[in-house]
């Protein structure tokens, strides 16, 4: 068995088996890092209380506030403008639960607070070789570092709080290889949407995806996070990329990363976290990265994605027809030139410094079209600080965009940041589901560059038309 070449998934899985999987029982899988937030944890803490159980490893548990928190600053009395009293109560509940159980919480006012999938990597909590879970499907993001990271439900949040383990069957291995080189004006978000369009919204179901190939190797850590983040939109709970020099360079010196001799030992170990030559994948997909164009969605499922300069395909069935009706985008229509009401740049998919720089490149010296509301929400306090240090906020404000406090914001709209019914929102988030950004709101997923270009044009636009020396 040992001679069988192993996948990265095999290695990560094997390292965390507390009790092996049998025909009768799933594996008891040890979790190195448990991230919690206010939305999916309260009922789990309630179960612990009912059962008289303690949080077993508060030192492996980290809390942050992101989903229900306002992105507007406190008023003159220091009161935050919560969307609803329930949102405020949910935030207070997590503060209380973390206090009672001795869990470190990056709470309101903490310079380390931010979207859970932005701060984990930022602080160096996310590391190669770890198992990482969170009651949030975009936990796949952390796989960009060569970790096994996946979203869990609230019952499982309770399991991890109580035992530091989850019961899991090993997923099948899928590899998505991006060959070639990306064209200028095309990025990780476009790769993700192209991949989901190719395999379908359920193409990764039952699999953990490993992203590989030269175009993936060439990506920055932030871009790799964007790609892994969207794995769940193809139905895969995990996405991962084998760690390399890019990974180590990002982590070196990070607050919670190993230091000194421990760092050297860790890197030596992390270098072994690669899929071996000849390892078996249950499913393989190859994509030519050089053929990918800036991508946008035109329907209500993330696999309804096409190049921005394309026409939408004909409706294949009743679901497609219903989606086209909701989106008010006729099958066969040009995607470019669809009028835009709002633009949202943010979310755990695209709210990191490089995303904001990408948007700023296009917005610099330009104006958001009259009547278009553009919201730019950094992923964390650290991202905000870094962006402000290089003046990005001034570029955004000069262009007429709003620069907000960190949080999930309009990706999920739980904090009151929403579109109005019928609005078309070009959004750098991850889900174009009906009503996701507010009742009746039509969401078009895109990269930060495409979103910024669309804000300026007032219609869905090709970012390459706004880039010097780049042709579409």
């Amino acid at each position: 068995m040992k001679d069988q070449p192993q996948t990265l998934l095999d290695k990560l899985w094997e390292r965390h088996i507390a009790v092996p999987e049998t025909d009768e029982n799933p594996a008891v899988l040890y979790i190195d890092l448990h991230l919690i937030h206010e939305v999916t944890s309260p009922q789990a803490f309630a179960v612990l209380a009912e059962r008289g159980l303690k949080v077993r490893r508060p030192d492996r548990t980290i809390g942050t506030l992101d989903h229900s928190t306002p992105t507007l600053p406190a008023d003159e009395n220091g009161e935050l403008p919560y969307g609803t009293p329930a949102a405020k109560q949910q935030v207070e509940q997590l503060i209380e639960n973390c206090g009672v159980h001795g869990i470190e919480l990056f709470g309101l006012g903490d310079p380390r607070r931010g979207i859970v999938h932005v701060i984990g990597p930022e602080l160096g909590l996310t590391q190669p070789g770890k198992t990482i879970v969170c009651g949030d499907s975009h936990t796949s993001t952390h796989g960009a570092f060569g970790a096994l990271a996946f979203g869990i439900g609230t019952t499982e949040v309770g399991h991890v709080l109580a035992t530091q383990c989850v019961l899991q069957r090993k997923p099948k291995a899928m590899r998505v290889t991006f060959d070639g080189e990306l064209q200028p004006g095309v990025g990780a978000k476009d790769m993700a949407l192209a991949m989901i369009a190719e395999v379908g919204a359920d193409g990764g179901q039952g699999y953990a995806i490993e992203f590989a190939g030269p175009a993936v190797r060439a990506l920055s850590m932030e871009a790799r996070m964007t790609l892994c983040n969207m794995s769940i939109e193809a139905g895969a709970r995990s996405g991962m990329i084998a760690p390399d020099e890019t990974t180590f360079a990002w982590l070196e010196g990070a607050d919670r990363a190993p230091k000194g001799a421990e760092w050297d030992a860790a890197v030596a170990d992390w270098r072994t976290l690669v899929s071996e030559e000849g390892a078996t994948f249950h499913k393989e997909v190859d994509i030519d990265a050089s053929a990918i164009k800036p991508m946008v969605t035109y329907g209500v499922s993330p696999d309804a994605a096409a190049p921005v300069d394309a026409l939408t395909p004909p409706a294949a069935n009743a679901s497609d027809a219903k989606a086209a009706e909701y989106m008010q985008i006729e099958p066969g229509a040009a995607i470019e030139d669809v009028d835009v009401d709002r633009v949202f740049i943010g979310s755990c998919t695209n709210s990191r410094l490089s995303d904001l720089r990408e948007a700023a490149e296009i917005l610099r010296g330009r104006q958001v079209k009259d009547g278009v509301i553009a919201l730019i929400v950094p992923g964390s306090e650290a991202v905000r600080k870094a962006a402000e240090a290089e003046g990005l906020h001034d570029i955004f404000r000069s262009a007429g965009a709003e620069w907000r406090e960190p949080g999930c914001s309009m990706c999920i709209g739980m904090n009151g940041d929403q579109g109005a019914p019928g609005d078309l929102v070009v959004s750098t988030s991850n889900r174009n589901f009906m009503g996701r950004q507010g009742k009746g709101v039509r969401t078009v997923l895109a990269s930060p560059a495409t979103a910024a270009a669309s804000a300026v044009a007032g219609k869905i636009a090709d970012p390459r038309d706004f880039m010097e020396g780049v042709s579409s």
């Binding site: 507390a18 939305v39 109580a162 179901q205």
Partner: protein, 194 residues
């Protein structure tokens, strides 16, 4: 600690033929600010069941669930994709559903549902097509034998992950099982420096 066992169910279906019905449709995010499990049925499929003015659309087939005779939801492929919110099965259960049948059900939702006594069942395309095209038929589900028997078409087998199935049949809570593994968990921590 035990949970309510699930062994058999005979009920009628409600059909939602749309593909890719995501968890934001099942329970929109604005209902997730609750810190409770109970009462989420009020928000279940809210934007499908209520019009812009907040009036119940009587035309929605979902309303039939309230009569108690239609506890089986038949849905289009890739059902419950999207977010990991366990509020989705909580909401469906609270509304009155006990089982969901589709050709293809998302992983996290399946895992969440099994832990709450909502039975997710995947069937072949042909059976699925029949069920989609025949709303309201009576179906018998036997979890022990893993056979689903719809009226008017041959019974078909389905597969439920063995451990989850055992837990449902016996009314065993998986958390109790995990807590009983504590010696192995501690040993793992010692050996692996955790």
């Amino acid at each position: 600690m035990s949970i309510e066992p699930f062994r058999t169910l005979t009920s009628r279906t409600i059909v939602l033929p749309e593909e890719n019905i995501d968890t934001d449709q099942i329970i929109p995010a604005r209902f997730l600010t609750t810190t409770e499990r109970a009462g989420l049925g009020a928000g279940a499929f809210y934007d499908w069941r209520y019009d812009e003015a907040g009036n119940l659309r009587n035309s929605s087939p979902i309303e039939q669930v309230k009569g108690g005779q239609h506890a089986i939801l038949v849905a289009g492929g890739n059902f419950a994709c999207g977010s990991s919110r366990e509020h989705a099965p909580w909401a469906l259960l609270d509304l009155g559903f006990r089982a969901v049948i589709s050709s293809d059900i998302a992983d996290i939702f399946t895992s969440n549902s099994l832990k709450n006594g909502l039975l997710p069942i995947e069937v072949d395309e042909k059976t699925h097509d029949f069920l989609i095209n025949n709303p309201g038929i009576e179906i018998s589900i036997d979890l022990e034998t893993q056979i689903v028997s719809p009226t008017g078409v041959a019974p078909v087998n389905f597969t439920t992950e063995k451990f989850a199935r055992r837990c449902l049949l016996d009314g065993v809570d998986p958390l109790g099982f995990l807590v009983n593994q504590m010696a192995s968990i501690k040993e793992y921590e010692d050996v692996h420096g955790r």
